[in-house]
């Protein structure tokens, strides 16, 4: 059943890249267009993949998480702040600062995960509301802290704009990275690589290990899991916290890998696109990666359309508006939800608070 979906996804990506190759053929060689689009696609897909993995961790354990956006934003800020502080106040080398920044981002994401777990598992708050709390709190807190820690004489840096330690370096895998067309896949930054690796790790853990079996049992039928001696509360807590940590890594992408700066609200709704990628991928890590790549390809498509605007037939110039192509992830997800392209099956107990003592 998944093959139909993956086929659909592959078709979209190929068509999008194909259109650009055709458009740009007169100016640039196909190999460099494909390579460039693949690079853009992977860069855009990295935070989406990590966000979707966060969603999968939580939802496979039966907890809906619409707070991915907030988790990523929080991590983006604190990872950034941490790296800056360590490099400019503690005078640690840039590479070490960046890595410590990533660690701080992961921890702050995990802490937001802990908040979500506390609300949903312990207090049995409606999971959508809990996610909304996470998002709103993240937006307010990062805005507030950004101001207090960076601006004005009383800030952590005494009013100076500290010099950023840069971004995580590109890793060029020899030989593989030099393959024409697809070499770009092997010339990425560390978080992008990690995201790819994590997808397969998550797939393995979820479907081939004890922890995965238990997690899925908790997400499908928590009472059955409990009757089999599994501590539902513990499994949910750990999964949500791990999910938060993964979202934290996704947050680190924004400020430590992509660009060395933090902006209020800089995640710009990508947490919600990640949610869409998770659903589109049918709650499976590999599916989520595929979906994230589609959304990345759509954005690469739009950027390239703008670059080749002079050769676009006038009828299609509207496509270069980001608001038109920006619709792609959302519309695709809505189509998926209607069940036209294969059935989407969330974990059965997703979103249902678990009450240990409920009678019968």
């Amino acid at each position: 059943m998944d093959y139909r979906r993956y086929g659909f996804i592959a078709a979209i990506v190929v068509v999008l890249i194909g259109i650009i190759v055709k458009l740009g053929a007169a100016q640039v060689s196909p190999a460099s267009i494909v390579a460039s689009m693949i690079a853009t696609t992977i860069a855009v897909a990295t935070p989406l993949t990590l966000g979707a993995l966060c969603g999968i961790c939580c939802e496979r354990a039966g907890v809906v998480n619409i707070g991915i956006e907030g988790m990523m934003l929080t991590a983006a800020f604190f990872g950034w702040f941490g790296a800056l502080y360590i490099s400019s106040i503690l005078h640690v080398g840039p590479m070490t600062s960046l890595l410590l920044g990533v660690l701080i981002a992961i921890i702050s994401g995990a802490l937001m995960g802990l908040l979500h777990a506390l609300l949903t598992v312990t207090f049995e708050v409606d999971q959508i509301i809990a996610g909304t709390v996470v998002n709103l709190l993240a937006m307010g807190m990062t805005g507030f802290c950004n101001r207090q820690l960076f601006f004005g004489a009383g800030s952590a840096f005494g009013g100076q704009i500290p010099r950023a330690p840069g971004t995580l370096p590109r890793i060029h895998i020899p030989i593989l990275a030099d393959i024409p067309f697809i070499g770009g896949m092997f010339d990425q930054q560390p978080i992008a690589f990690t995201a790819l690796v994590l997808v397969f790790v998550a797939h393995f853990v979820l479907f081939y290990t004890q922890w995965g079996l238990r997690t899925r049992a908790v997400g499908e039928h928590p009472r059955a899991a409990s009757a089999a001696g599994i501590d539902v509360i513990r499994v949910r807590y750990i999964n949500i916290v791990i999910g938060g940590a993964i979202a934290g890594l996704g947050g680190a992408y924004f400020t430590l890998e992509s660009v060395p700066s933090f902006e209020p609200l800089m995640t710009n709704g990508r947490g919600f696109i990640a949610l869409a990628a998770m659903i589109f991928g049918n709650w499976k890590p590999i599916g989520a990666l595929a979906a994230a790549l589609v959304f990345g390809a759509a954005q690469a498509f739009q950027i390239n359309l703008q670059l080749f605007r002079d050769v676009i037939p006038p009828k299609f110039t509207f496509l270069q508006q980001s608001s038109v192509v920006g619709l792609v992830p959302y519309v695709l997800t809505l189509i998926i939800l209607t069940g036209v392209i294969g059935k989407t099956t969330p974990p059965a107990a997703d979103g249902v608070p678990y009450d240990r003592e409920r009678r019968s």
């Binding site: 081939y208 290990t209 004890q210 079996l213 238990r214 899925r216 049992a217 499908e220 039928h221 009472r223 059955a224 899991a225 409990s226 009757a227 089999a228 001696g229 599994i230 501590d231 059965a348 240990r356 003592e357 009678r359 019968s360």
Partner: protein
Amino acid sequence: MTLVLEVRGISKKFPGVVANDNVDLDLQEGEIHCLLGENGAGKSTLMNIIYGLSAPDAGEIRLRGKPIALRSPKDAIALGIGMVHQHFMLVPVFTVTENIMLGAEEKRGLVLDRRKVSARVRELSKEYGLDVDPDARVEDLPVGAQQRVEIIKALYRNAQVLILDEPTAVLTPPEVDELLIVLKGLIKKGVSVLFITHKLREVLEVADRITVMRGGRVVASAKPEESDERSLAALMVGREVILQVDKSEAAPTHEVLEVKDLSVGGRHPGMDEVRRVSFTVRAGEILGIAGVQGNGQTELIEAITGLRRPGSGKVSLMGRDITGVGARTLIEHGVSHVPEDRHRHGLVLSYSIADNLVLCTYNQPPFGTNGVLHDGPIDLYAQKCVKDFDVRTPNTQTAASSLSGGNQQKVIIARELGRPVKLLVVNQPTRGVDVGSIERIHRELVATRDKGAAVLLVSAELDEILALSDRIAVMYRGEIVSIVPAAKVTRAELGCWMAGSQTPTVESAAEATA
């Protein structure tokens, strides 16, 4: 014989209910100990405590003389206690092997060793005569097989004490017999069994000892050889029970409901839940549909009451074709329906009694005119219903959730009988209802019949079917295998038909009415 399990002074309160009050119970090695009680007597709560699913407020559990503290089922499993729940604790999308290994996984390195577990499952299934396919997905298995998975799951964990909570409710009589044989085999191998049920017949057949619970307390202990159904029922209910319903000979007149060649689709395409069913119900009679749960009764009823679109066939009401007509229209044409699951389908628990009483008629005068509700008439009507049907409640604005099961059911019956009824469809009207309310509900059904309505009764309780019906139809695997006048049939014959084990003697409707 040695004592395996001792339960001493267990108490457990839920908001508003004392589920267990100072309960004592013990289990000896290699015996089948039956725990008997009505719904709500506190049996399941006690079992959940023994299995570590909930914590007692007071009391102590001892295993082989040593006090044990159970924080979760994990502890119970580690101590050799296994449980087969009334609602199976199986993950539907997992395979049998995965379900069995869950929580007691075998690993090779980091990876789950499915092959090793499925080999062990095959062994166990051979050893105890429990036939299952380890690689099948649980959601594709029939209930009987799912139960076998549950038992293997406990055995896989080396359970020495096996608790079975109402295991027979979902089984056909032959499956019940099979289960009882398996249990007898188990005790020979040293397993001790706690068997929970409210079915007297099984108790007498299988138990070594019997403990009766009522209202959260242990009220009696008995030995099967010294007991009979009547005495056990009295212990269970707390007074003499009239097993017979007072009713006169039926005087059926015209045909009200005619079902012809009706088929209803189900979860799996190509596998109809109801298959080419035909029967009629006349004014002034009760047609009882007997059968083990899950043989298509619910789907049949939903198709008749407009809740489910039939695949093929025809349903007529008073000669008018009503196939595929919606529930609202049927309600307006005099069809009343008391659904099987009163919490999910029958009531809005957060609503007041008054609102629940007008759930079907809120849009009709005098309750609602031109889209506006009128509280005055609604409340007057509610007070009348509460009085007429003896609903025990402080007032009509009380939330339905705070009523007892019996009173909730009376609210539904009051609602469904409170408007002119031509056809009354009732599904499991007395499940989980106290004996007092059962008697009351039975009287209402007979009275409805006597007022000239046609009554279609579905029940998994053979006693209820026998006590109320004028004619009895038996459903098995979506088909009606037999329709007979109630007076001409024995319990044993019905049991056989329900199991599909005897050549059905289908009489045509005309024959039965003759």
